[in-house]
Symmetry: C2
Subunit: 149 residues, 2 copies
Amino acid sequence: MIDSRTVATISSIEELDASLSSAVSRLFRRVRAEKASDQISDSHRSVLALLVKEGPRSLSELSEHQRVKPPSMSQTVNALVEQGYVERRDDPTDGRKVILTATASGQALIEETGRRFHAWLQSHLVELSEDDRETLRKAATIIRRLADS
Amino acid sequence: MIDSRTVATISSIEELDASLSSAVSRLFRRVRAEKASDQISDSHRSVLALLVKEGPRSLSELSEHQRVKPPSMSQTVNALVEQGYVERRDDPTDGRKVILTATASGQALIEETGRRFHAWLQSHLVELSEDDRETLRKAATIIRRLADS
DNA sequence: TATTGTTATACTCTATAACTATA
DNA sequence: TATAGTTATAGAGTATAACAATA
């Protein structure tokens, strides 16, 4: 049964949907623009950041996590190894596998990249009212739940 | 001067930054995954959606809006014209310009794409409490302000 | 001269197919 | 046989450089 209250809810959900989609998409583009002033590409940084934050991984683990095929990840890893950001060594327990580890230089790069973006976002967050920040805190939790569901 | 209260604010802003960055990034990836089940690529759809929603544009207007160089946009537009989603005609008032317009087929494609994604998001939004939706409404406004600043 | 757009060419990231080496 | 990874090759999207046409 659809009464007037249900109709109001549907309409407000469509508006929320449109508003939220647009806002998130704009923020994401802004994030990308900040990151773009970097030496390293988005996909390379994303792999390097995973190795820095979550430790060594095999090639297939990386390719699954980034949702690319193994040959693509192989190429990405090659570039990172050549640039000295990642070290590749054989897995002693399984000769088919390789273990990819971020080097000190790779760690430093990720920290610098993060520092720059977060400096941008934080400088804007600090200008908000505490009420607005509290709203964003709650929203982040809700958005994360939505994205993971 | 940094007192204990300032320190507390800095720390909470760092946490909000981390939490918000992560949540937005996850939602965006989820959005992309929904869209990926499409015939048309992300960059092409983005251009077509602009023409559908905001009306005819010149090539340089499109390239500026999407932040790509004119030759790249020229190629994107070529593909959309070949597929029948966009019509290209000369600007009667300025012989250098071209006017790009979405065709009926292009409009239909964007509507279908939107329908599918919004169905996903809306189906999740209706499951939230009204309080959570109100939080998201406020957050969308704040996030948009952040992204545009 | 400056602006609008196109063509030619190259680079990056991704994919599929075919292969090697190991389990 | 199945799994982990690499090499070869191709396609999509982007860029720069050089160009043509118009203002």
